[in-house]
């Protein structure tokens, strides 16, 4: 028998021959005892190989444990993105808190600094203090003329204070005297 005949037998057992090829081989098998024996031998060897490969099967207990651990892994994997989201949310929440505290501290420090500076370096300009029965009103002006014009509109005692360079020189007058 030649090698191509063995390959033909294998393809026959593998079910890979065309209808024409199969029928031709079946015809030969009825007439060629050597070929028929080779086919029977190939079948037996195949069964032996298939039986041998069955040895690779794990025991029932092994398979059961593997099934359980596989399913555990699958479900764990499915919920992993949620846990990641939780972690992200936690980070975001703490970032917000820290940002809020930092903003408060910044505002507090800024306010303190502004207050300190305004005490140290008063605003340049003129201040009109109007004393009325209802109480005291204070207005800021950049020029003395504006301050006087404003003060003259009131009938009560006014005070114009020059704050330029922190001099705090005051002019006190009654209504319409500026």
């Amino acid at each position: 028998m030649i090698e191509s005949d063995y390959m033909l037998i294998e393809e026959f057992l593998d079910g890979q021959l065309s209808k024409v090829q199969r029928e031709a081989l079946e015809q030969r098998l009825t007439q060629d005892a050597v070929l028929a024996n080779a086919l029977a031998a190939a079948r037996r060897q195949r069964q032996l190989r298939q039986a041998a490969v069955e040895l690779y099967r794990p025991t029932d207990i092994e398979a059961s444990v593997l099934t359980r651990t596989t399913m555990e892994r699958c479900y764990k994997d499915e919920f992993a993105p949620l846990a990641k989201l939780d972690r992200r949310y936690l980070v975001l929440r703490w970032t917000r808190r820290i940002t809020a505290v930092a903003a408060c501290l910044f505002l507090a420090a800024g306010s303190y600094w502004l207050g300190y500076n305004s005490q140290k370096n008063p605003v340049n300009g003129y201040q009109v203090i109007i004393n009325t029965d209802a109480g005291q009103t204070v207005r800021q002006f950049s020029t003395l003329d504006e301050a006087k014009q404003y003060a003259n509109t009131y009938q009560t005692t006014q005070m114009v204070t020059d704050q330029t360079n922190g001099d705090n020189q005051s002019q006190l007058s009654t209504a319409g005297e500026f």
Partner: protein, 178 residues
């Protein structure tokens, strides 16, 4: 979005029913059940995990064996390629024919004989072994195997033939030594 409960149940049932065969498939394709038993289990678990992520897109009504087996086979092949590169070298040495006169399978099938066959299957070049397992255990066609192994159909035929010849020769030698 979570998969519907029916997909979960179908997937679990498929894993439960096929785990043993999947492990056997991975081990036989890897050809290293004792040396690196964990590798086969890891490959099966990783593959099932990937299938689980898309479980609602597959049809599990037929038990899922075909889908799972093909996925595991692909994983084993890609795992082997990563380890040894894409070389699928063929062994040029061929034993004599597979004649019925030399039929090594014409002996009673004992546990020892099957262990011997299994050892010889493990000793085959990886590509030959994969082709043989996919053909004889998974009953895949030559074309399908060729696509999976990324070779031509004639290459698959050659590998199958060489693997079978070598296994027959090895077994014959083993029986002669006894």
């Amino acid at each position: 979005m979570a998969a519907p409960p029916t997909a979960n149940k179908a997937f679990e049932a498929a894993v439960n029913a096929n785990m043993s065969r999947l492990i056997a498939l991975a081990r036989s394709m890897l050809g290293a059940p004792m040396r690196d038993a964990k590798q086969a289990e890891d490959i099966v678990q990783d593959t099932l995990l990937k299938l689980f992520r898309h479980r609602d897109t597959y049809d599990w009504s037929n038990g899922g064996w075909s889908l799972m087996a093909k996925a595991v086979a692909r994983s084993v092949i890609s795992c082997r390629r990563r380890k040894v590169g894409a070389s699928l070298e063929a062994d040029p040495v061929l034993s004599d024919g597979l004649g019925a006169e030399n039929d090594p399978a014409a002996v009673p099938i004992t546990a020892e004989t099957m262990q011997t066959v299994r050892r010889h299957i493990e000793a085959l070049p990886p590509a030959w072994r994969e082709a043989l397992i996919l053909r004889e255990q998974q009953e895949m066609g030559y074309r399908e195997i060729a696509e999976m192994l990324d070779v031509t159909e004639s290459q698959v035929k050659t590998w199958l033939h060489r693997a079978r010849v070598r296994l027959a020769g090895s077994l014959r030698e083993h029986l002669r030594e006894r």
